[in-house]
Symmetry: C2
């Protein structure tokens, strides 16, 4: 007997038939003798409609009211799933964020979970009742409904698993698990049986969309065993595990990519202290998220060039901010390119194995892929390239590192 948290996203609960299907998956765990809490998102499409209304009603925006509106999506799903479970002979009840409660800070629309008071749910689980818990939502100290931001249901599930001391948190999704890379680009991509928290974190932040970064960080902090698996078949998925429990030790675990990057180079900046700080403070004030940064001094002049990457959707804003700085921080001109992709290879084995960066760079170079910017972390190497080469680069690296082999 185990205590399990199951999480189903919007596609998995997209209509009444799918909700009944989810009820059957919950029932299977109950019938196997397990205690089950299930966290669900809004029916797919619902949240978009609610967000559209909240945006169209008027230009001024109150995030507290916005949260009140969009939180109804999950409220409908938990009620429907609880009824579907009862119809399958399972004792079940719904729990809204404020009923559990999921206590959060007051940063509406991107609130952080501060505490989950799960004692009552735990008691009922051990009495055989299934808890159907609304993901994505919580309640502030002021008693207002908060939401965790898009994808927050993964975080709700992992946090609940931590609070309930669950043996496992199963994240059901529309893919079979975590792949070595995107199977739509690389048909030879292989489903991983295991991945470490740190690798998963790097994969998520490097563009793999299978798990929310925040939920992985939450799982790592509280040591929650997470499984990513399909809601449409019974295959085992991918276990996200502690590095200590990792079985496989390949050179790298996966390749992530993000095709919507922009590269901006400020050419001919005066090379004096505080210049870089001034630029990045102005960008941060404008809420532009910077990813990679490279500064290249030039020996022959008193100037330097700074190159950084942002998401393509932020490129225009970033350019405007830098143009606004020109009087204070003189420079020659800006070069901006929005046809940029970021390719990342990820693996904890990098810590101990030499030659991985070299293998990455040389195999790409052999195919004529020019590396514009390189950045590395302990378990990740990322490069910016012309986005036209995205698929070629992913396939080349997948072959080079023999990721199709288990």
């Amino acid at each position: 007997m185990a205590r399990i948290v199951q999480k189903f996203g919007g596609t998995s609960v997209g209509d009444l038939d799918r909700i009944r299907n989810v009820a059957q998956r919950v029932k299977a765990e109950v019938d196997a003798g397990n205690e089950v809490a299930v966290v669900v998102s809004a029916m797919s499409g619902t949240t978009n409609q609610l967000v559209e209304w909240a945006r169209d009603i008027g230009p001024l925006h109150d995030a507290r009211e916005y949260d009140t509106i969009v939180a109804t999506g999950e409220q409908v799903t938990v009620g429907l799933l609880a009824i579907a479970l009862q119809n399958s002979g399972i004792d079940a009840r719904s729990w809204l964020g404020w009923q559990v409660p999921f206590k959060t800070d007051s940063t509406h629309s991107s609130a952080r979970i501060e505490e989950i008071q799960a004692e009552e749910i735990a008691k009922r689980l051990s009495n055989g009742q299934v808890a159907v818990v609304a993901g994505f939502q919580g309640v502030s100290d002021e008693g207002r409904i908060t939401t965790l931001g898009r994808g927050g249901s993964d975080t709700s599930a992992v946090a609940l698993a931590a609070a309930l001391n669950a043996d496992r948190c199963d994240i059901y999704t529309d893919v079979d698990g975590v792949y070595t890379t995107d199977p739509r680009i690389m048909p030879k991509a292989r489903k991983l049986d295991q991945i470490t928290f740190e690798e998963m974190l790097e994969m998520a932040s490097a563009g793999a969309k299978v798990l929310q970064t925040r939920s992985v960080a939450m799982g790592m902090r509280h040591n929650v065993k997470i499984q990513v698996r399909s809601s449409f078949n019974d295959e085992p998925g991918t276990m996200v595990v502690d590095e200590d429990n990792q079985m496989e030790q390949q050179k790298i675990s996966g390749i992530a990519y993000s095709a919507d990057e922009a590269r901006i180079t400020i050419v001919g900046l005066q090379d004096k202290p505080g210049v870089a700080a001034g630029i990045f403070k102005a960008l941060a004030d404008a809420h532009v998220n910077i990813d990679m940064i490279v500064q290249s001094g030039s020996a022959s002049h008193d100037t330097t060039d700074i190159t950084f990457s942002v998401s393509a959707s932020d490129a225009q804003k970033a350019n405007a901010v830098i143009e606004g700085l020109k009087s204070d921080l003189p420079y020659e001109h800006i070069v901006s390119d929005t046809n940029i992709a970021k390719i990342s290879i990820i693996g904890t084995a990098m810590r101990t194995q030499a030659g991985i960066a070299n293998m990455m760079f040389s195999s790409l170079s052999d195919k004529g892929v020019n590396l514009q910017v390189i950045s590395t972390s302990e378990i990740k190497i990322s490069v910016l390239i012309d986005s036209a080469y995205t698929e070629l680069a992913v396939r080349t690296l997948h072959d080079a590192f023999e990721l199709h082999l288990a």
Copy 2:
């Protein structure tokens, strides 16, 4: 300066434009220096969709989950209206049933309000903030969301007006006020400037749909001044007042009708004590609501006939219940007719003026309308007739009592 509760139904908040229109009506009261709490229903159509989902997900039905699901309708509207008000420069915040709280009993889907803790709202009203309150919903002692049943938003508004000690409760609807009878049937129908609580109560229970019976009873009990008015124009509506404040004193105030009635006669019942009680207990146990009852003994036999009316939709169930009783309470046969209408005339003046019943019966008889069953209360006379004569009967009575004259 006055403290006003405004209530807008589903049609009045049916889309974003109409919600903006409601915001303007609220703003008008604020600009006139009044304190305003506004109670809203779900956007029209929304509740039906939610009810359909909750019913279609499975045959077993948990009213607690049903309430959780349908309460989202009002939750969306309060958030949208609060944002619309802020966009009109009005300080406003939304209040859900559990946030106020509207404390109710645990009779889910038809809960009764036990207490409204409105101190915080009252404080904010006097600081100039508009309270946008979700109608129709409350919270039980167990912390579950409850709903008051269909039309419950009127009751929410009147109860809130009582708790806030409001000077007036304006119920905005898609008609201009309370009419002497249905203008679709009688073009000469006249809008009443005033009607007493008791008359309104009888009108509502006799089939007039303009105000929920429960909300009128609530208003009467707490002496809340209610105005029924149109959300689509600025005309004054109908004030529902105490009898002491009534200005007009006509023979009758209005004519109500209900075309969906059924008449059931049990012929040849043994005439002994307990027979009627046995029948009506069995019907009550089957949740069949009985309206009018007439028992007619026959002098020559030891048998009696009992005639009663139910809504047409309950006729089949009532027949089945009575057939099931035949072995215990022998009778000859049942006569059942579902083409029945109930016509009622209502007016407090009946208490003091003679000849009103006679005028009703004779004017209908002059037009060849046969009266099948008659029942009277202190301020109402109802008759059952063949439903084919409904419109004729309403028009005949409207003319006979000269209701077109103010």
